[in-house]
């Protein structure tokens, strides 16, 4: 059997998931210029809200997805207003914000573990009976197709939002220089709040989709975040297109890397890629 088509599909699926995390991460980094570690936990928030609504309360799946995504966004928005905004006003350094975000990462994760236990849960209702599609001898599931479609739609939507709207212009202005943006009359704190909402909502969606594909657990945020951050740095931190590129590059390198050697090297390969980029091209693929 030729395994290349399946390896390509595996890489694309992994890349798509990393993209969702990297998109929001880069969006927030672009506007605030600090490493928001709490971004990872938004995936868990989205996944667990969906789990509670759809599986425990039996709500319609689509409504549950919307509420899950919305709540993840709101939690992100709330974190900005409660923690990051006061710190920014006090002109706290990025190091302080980073440490704060580490706390903002750990606390919700602990709350989720207390409320839902730390056991691994799957979201999918029909495990094992899922529709399979054959692509050149490889297999892809319905869930994975939905993930791919969402990634394409969200990336396209985000690009349109950033380039075709007033809001997008403001976000880009803040990314270029927050002080100047302020001077020309942009309410930067308000815009950054919205950026947190959008970025966190995308992470929440990532959590739900990962939950459908594999499953959810309170600690899922960290591994997603790590891969998302690698993707961001490789692609060019703060750059939306770079994040997408980096995510797929990471997916391919990771999955093709263990083609000829044993699978336990997967994470080692991912971090080796990060180190190579940090040494030879620290600003990533896209950033000049």
């Amino acid at each position: 059997m030729d395994i290349i088509p399946q390896l390509i599909l595996n890489s694309i699926i992994a890349g798509a998931i990393y993209t969702l995390v990297a998109l929001g991460f880069n969006l927030i980094y672009g506007a605030t210029k600090f490493f928001n570690l709490a971004h990872g936990v938004m995936a868990a928030v989205g996944g667990y809200v969906f789990f509670y609504l759809a599986k425990t309360l039996g709500l319609n799946i689509f409504i549950a997805v919307i509420i899950g995504v919305g709540l993840a966004g709101l939690v992100g928005y709330g974190l900005d207003k409660l923690i990051y905004l006061p710190l920014r006003k006090r002109k706290a350094s990025n190091m302080v914000l980073l440490v704060a975000s580490l706390g903002a990462f750990t606390a919700p994760q602990a709350v989720i573990a207390i409320l839902f236990t730390s056991q691994f849960k799957t979201l999918s209702q029909h495990v094992g009976t899922q529709k399979l599609f054959e692509v050149f001898g490889g297999f892809i599931t319905q869930t994975q197709l939905i993930i791919l479609t969402s990634v394409v739609l969200i990336t396209a939507g985000l690009v349109l939002l950033l380039h075709k709207t007033q809001f997008g212009k403001a976000v880009r202005a803040i990314s270029d220089d927050e002080e100047v943006a302020k001077i020309i009359g942009i309410n930067t704190n308000k815009i950054i709040g919205y950026v947190f909402f959008i970025g966190s909502a995308i992470a929440g969606l990532a959590g739900i989709l990962v939950g459908f594909d594999t499953g959810i657990e309170p600690t899922m945020g960290l591994s997603l975040l790590l891969k998302g951050v690698i993707a961001s740095i490789v692609g060019g931190v703060g750059n939306i297109y770079g994040g997408v590129l980096g995510a797929f590059l990471l997916g391919f390198v990771e999955n093709f890397g263990i083609w000829k050697i044993s699978g336990e090297w997967k994470d080692a390969i991912a971090f080796a890629l990060l180190i190579v980029f940090l040494i030879f091209r620290p600003r990533g693929i896209m950033n000049k």
Binding site: M1, D2, I3, Q6, L7, N10, I13, A14, A113, T117, S118, Q119, F120, K121, T122, H126, V127, G128, T129, Q130, L132, F139, T141, T214, G215, E217, T219, M220, S223, N255, I258, W259, S262, G263, E264, K266, D267
Partner: protein, 377 residues
């Protein structure tokens, strides 16, 4: 001060610190005889294998309650200090350090995952703290030292039992191994592969994965490409659920055979039809109805995971030993080598060999039928 005076002062300081350090933690010499006897517990209360850890904890609580209701140990109640090992070496090691140096327990029940136990058995041996693991099966633990015991069988037994079962009973000669990179996964894999090759079978591929990994697609893709007749999948609950699903999603139809960690009903309810026909080996435990009823009353369902009976018996065994020889760790250690405990729910007899390993082990194979594991005939 010249060089040699400095040396002398330095040596005196070191000696003083050592001497003081040696005497101070001993505390008051005659303990009040009504204060509780404290022992430690380490298990995966969160993280990987948390389902097992929580179930085990329930059994330990029941067992401790029973010991205390029947008068405790010489009138003193038994108290367990629970620490979370998260099925991870460094976390378990921190937990053990706390139990050894702060709580100064003479004995630690645990850890559950072999990686937990391996991480602190050196420290326990050095500090002369008895370790009685109710769940760790990695072969390397046999050589850990005098103070390390387990009433769960070494994987030497499990690995060769499964090799013979797959080769002779199932008649499969070409097997792929997919294993978690952990003391447990590596341990069984090594024993299994060696035995299976001795029998005349072929291991067509060995694929490892990080214990925390949830995406095993590429490993499974590689396995599928070499056409084995069966996959021996050594994984804990959290990776096994996505792993079993992903095997199905990649169109793998060959049978899956797992290790004793698959004796967790959560896996089979979560993977539903994807787990149909999966098999795994597990230690035979003579569970009685009384124990089942007590667990049901506390847990709320019929779930008794792997190691839960062992943990229940371990508490009883420890209480019996401390009753006889007191709380001195060395005395407990010596007594454990001589003890034989019968009438438990985990084995007909618990006895330790000179490595502190459980003597004798009977395995059975369970097969999953419509989401429930039943004994294979």
């Amino acid at each position: 001060m010249n060089q040699s005076t400095k040396w002398i002062v330095g040596v005196i300081v070191v000696v003083a610190v050592v001497v003081v350090g040696y005497f101070v933690p001993k505390g008051p010499s005659g303990p009040v005889l009504t204060e509780p006897i404290k022992i430690g517990f380490i298990g995966p209360l969160t993280g990987d294998a948390a389902n097992i850890g929580q179930n085990v904890r329930t059994a330990v609580e029941i067992s401790v309650k029973e010991v205390n209701e029947t008068g405790g140990i010489d009138g003193r109640p038994l108290e367990v200090i629970y620490e979370d090992g998260q099925c991870t070496g460094n976390v378990a090691s921190n937990a053990a350090n706390k139990l050894i140096s702060i709580n100064k327990v003479p004995l630690i029940l645990g850890g559950a995952c072999s990686g937990e136990t391996s991480s602190f058995m050196g420290a326990a041996e050095q500090s002369k703290t008895v370790v009685l693991s109710y769940c760790s099966s990695a072969p390397a633990i046999s050589q850990a030292g005098d103070y390390i015991f387990r009433n769960y069988p070494s994987d030497l037994y499990q690995g060769s039992f499964v090799a013979e079962y797959i080769y002779n009973k199932l008649g499969k000669k070409k097997v792929a191994v997919l294993y978690a990179k952990s003391d447990w996964g590596n341990g069984i894999k090594d024993v299994f592969s060696k035995k299976f090759k001795e029998l005349g079978g072929t291991i067509v591929i060995e694929e490892g994965y990080e214990q925390t990994s949830r995406d095993l697609r590429t490993q499974l893709t590689k396995i599928k490409a070499v056409n084995p007749e069966l996959i021996y999948f050594l994984g804990y609950t959290e990776a096994s659920i996505p792993g079993i699903k992903q095997a199905k999603e990649l169109g793998l139809t060959i049978p899956l055979f797992g290790g004793d960690a698959w004796d967790d009903s959560k896996i089979w309810t979560e993977v539903s039809s994807a787990g149909e026909g999966a098999m795994y080996s597990v230690m035979y435990a003579p569970l009685n109805n009384d124990f089942k009823a007590k667990m049901r009353a506390k847990v709320g369902n019929d779930e008794i995971t792997i190691c839960t009976p062992q943990a229940y018996d371990a508490v009883k065994l420890v209480a019996k030993v401390i009753e006889k020889v007191g709380t001195n760790a060395e005395a407990i250690k010596n007594e454990l080598y001589k003890t034989s405990y019968t009438g438990g729910v985990s084995a007909s007899e618990i006895r330790f060999d000179s490595n502190g390993d459980l003597v004798g082990a009977n395995y059975i194979v369970k097969v999953v039928r419509s989401g429930k594991a039943v004994e294979a005939k």
